[in-house]
């Protein structure tokens, strides 16, 4: 089985899209993460849901998780308001952590095998990888999710 056979349609977001809208899409459509594309339309990085969550929380709660206990219930419920007015670009890992080489991006070719897809997913710690046309790396055919990959692999095992 090849990657394009597992690929399913998946929305992509651009760097300048509204972060709140992108997060809402993540929640409404039950997506495991966001595929962020660069200005040329090529997949740049996959932000897993947990990463998006990280950006909704203030950094100081990352520094000291005990501070999360201090919030009253109504304020705790509204923690996503920190995303208001921010672009997806602002949720991105800082430049030094962005993939510098093509092989570090969560991308597979349409004709890659399941092991190749699993290898990229595992190496990138990403629950989603983008599947691109081998002749046009900026054309995203779809994505392979961890759920779909494991389902296919277990069926053959």
């Amino acid at each position: 089985m090849r990657a394009h056979e597992l690929a399913e349609p998946f929305p992509v977001v651009h760097l300048d899209d509204d972060a709140m809208a992108a997060t809402r899409m993540l929640a409404d459509e039950g997506l495991p993460g966001l595929v962020v594309v660069d200005d040329d339309g090529g997949p740049l990085v996959v932000l897993p849901g947990s990463q998006v969550l990280r950006f909704a929380l203030p950094e100081y709660i990352e520094e000291d998780p005990r501070l999360a206990h201090l919030y009253a219930e109504d304020e705790a419920d509204a923690f996503c308001k920190a995303l208001a007015g921010k672009a997806v670009r602002e949720l991105m890992p800082s430049k030094q952590y962005l993939p510098q080489r093509a092989r570090d991006r969560p991308v597979v070719q349409a004709d890659d095998t399941l092991v190749e897809v699993a290898s990229v997913m595992s190496r990138q710690h990403s629950p989603v990888v983008a599947v691109v046309d081998p002749d046009d790396p900026n054309h995203v055919i779809g994505v392979v999710t961890l759920h779909r990959l494991l389902g296919a692999a277990l069926q053959r095992s």
């Binding site: 203030p58 950094e59 100081y60 000291d64 005990r66 501070l67 206990h69 201090l70």
Partner: protein, 435 residues
């Protein structure tokens, strides 16, 4: 140990090279210290026995294990949520008024720095400060800078408050009470002066918004304490450690032994995993100290320190006020530019010679306090002068509030100039006029 001339030259060159590498941060300080220590062994300026077993020219295990013990104690106390509780309690007591919040946070930081150590204290206080500032609608930079400055001032008061004090205590055979009696009084005055200065220094950051201030009152500080039993046990053990530190003269138990026993008891009663109670042990710092001690010990071994000590004794010639003045201001200047730990490690054997030459007189002993005050308070001068400053600017940057070197330094220089200057009349009056 008798040394050949080439060994002396080589040892001094290795020491100077390592010192420059540490000061300029060309390489991580732990690497510089370890390479320097290794080279000292290679050239024969030190050997295995001297480096690992000699009290005078080897690793000072009292310092290493005192630091290790206190780091474990702090790791456990950190789990209790005490600092989060205190900071939010302070912000609520201040009714969200920015200056009052800053004063209370600085006082808490200073006291905690004296009882634990200043680096850990700012690590614990800074995140909750960001939360409080977020609530009261003020930018946090001034609050974080003020806390770093307060932690360095507060840490000066005790033997365990600042790493240079631990080195001075070990080398000068000074007790916990010696530090309390000689340094705490002036530190209390300095903290008072500092919080008054802060009203002017950070005045641009005190914009009061009644509506935002009300938001801080919605925080529930009691929820920070997730394990009251652990808090109670930790406070009892910390109190016992401090009591045993202060009973050193009567019980003759070294502070390192007290800290290790206290850490052991706390580990037993806390029920925490080794990963949790070792979380805040800064292994790099401990290895850095070990390398540093071997390097300085090598200079002792080959007679360089003895030679410099004789020169210093001749130059001072009983003029201890002049020597103290030079030590106080000179240490402040040097510590503002380079890490105060290697500076104090190097200066301590020299000061020891000077104090010994005064036959234990009060005037001669005052040189220890001049060194401690100058080195500890001098660390406030620049953003890289003390570890607490580096920690705070790092946390600020990660949270989107970068504090530039000069932004920190323009406050630090003023505070250092005022606090160090105030120490001089204290030393003069206490050890020369009223002694």
């Amino acid at each position: 140990m008798t040394a050949d001339t080439w060994q002396v030259v080589a040892a001094v060159a290795v020491f100077a090279g390592a010192y420059v590498a540490i000061a300029t941060e060309w390489v991580p300080r732990v690497q510089a210290a370890l390479v320097g220590a290794g080279l000292m062994l290679v050239i024969g300026a030190s050997n295995g026995e001297a480096a690992f077993f000699s009290e005078d020219s080897g690793i000072d295990w009292n310092v290493i294990f005192l630091l290790l013990g206190m780091m474990i104690v702090v790791s456990v106390i950190k789990q209790t949520g005490l600092f989060e509780y205190l900071a939010v309690w302070a912000a609520k007591r201040a009714r969200g008024r920015p200056y009052r919040v800053l004063v209370l946070l600085c006082v808490i930081t200073a006291v905690a720095s004296a009882a634990l150590d200043n680096v850990t204290t700012v690590l614990l206080v800074a995140p909750v400060t960001l939360l409080v500032c977020d609530r009261i609608g003020v930018r946090p930079e001034a609050f974080l800078v003020a806390e770093a400055l307060a932690s360095n001032i507060g840490g000066t008061a005790t033997l365990i408050g600042d790493p240079p004090n631990i080195i001075i205590a070990s080398r000068g055979d000074l007790s916990f009470n010696d530090f309390l009696v000689n340094l705490a009084p002036v530190v209390v005055v300095l903290i008072g002066v500092f919080v008054l200065m802060s009203r002017w220094l950070f005045r641009a950051s005190f914009t009061y918004d009644a509506q935002r201030a009300a938001a801080v009152m919605a925080l529930d500080e009691r929820r920070a304490i997730t394990d009251p039993r652990l808090l109670t046990r930790s406070m009892v053990v910390l109190a016992l450690i401090l009591v045993f530190f202060s009973l050193h003269t009567a019980l003759h138990v070294d502070p390192s032994v007290v800290a290790l026993l206290g850490a052991g008891v706390l580990v037993l009663v806390s029920g925490l995993s080794s990963q949790e109670f070792l979380e805040d042990v800064e292994w790099e710092t401990l290895v850095f100290f070990a390398g540093l001690f071997i390097m300085v010990g090598a200079l002792v071994n080959i007679g360089v320190i003895e030679y410099l000590g004789e020169q210093a004794v001749d130059a001072v010639g009983g003029r201890y006020l002049l020597a103290g003045t030079g030590l106080l201001f000179g240490s402040a200047v040097v510590s503002g530019v380079v890490d105060n730990i290697p500076y104090v490690a190097t200066m301590s054997p020299l000061v020891d010679d000077l104090v010994s030459s005064g036959d234990g007189s009060t005037q001669a002993s005052s040189l220890w306090w001049a060194l401690a005050l100058g080195a500890d308070l001098g660390g406030n001068a620049t953003a890289i002068g003390a570890s607490a400053n580096v920690v705070v600017t790092g946390i600020a940057a990660r949270n989107g509030y970068p504090i530039s070197f000069w932004q920190f330094t323009r406050y630090g220089l003023i505070v250092t100039a005022v606090t160090v200057s105030l120490c001089w009349p204290y030393l003069w009056l206490r050890y020369f006029v009223l002694a």
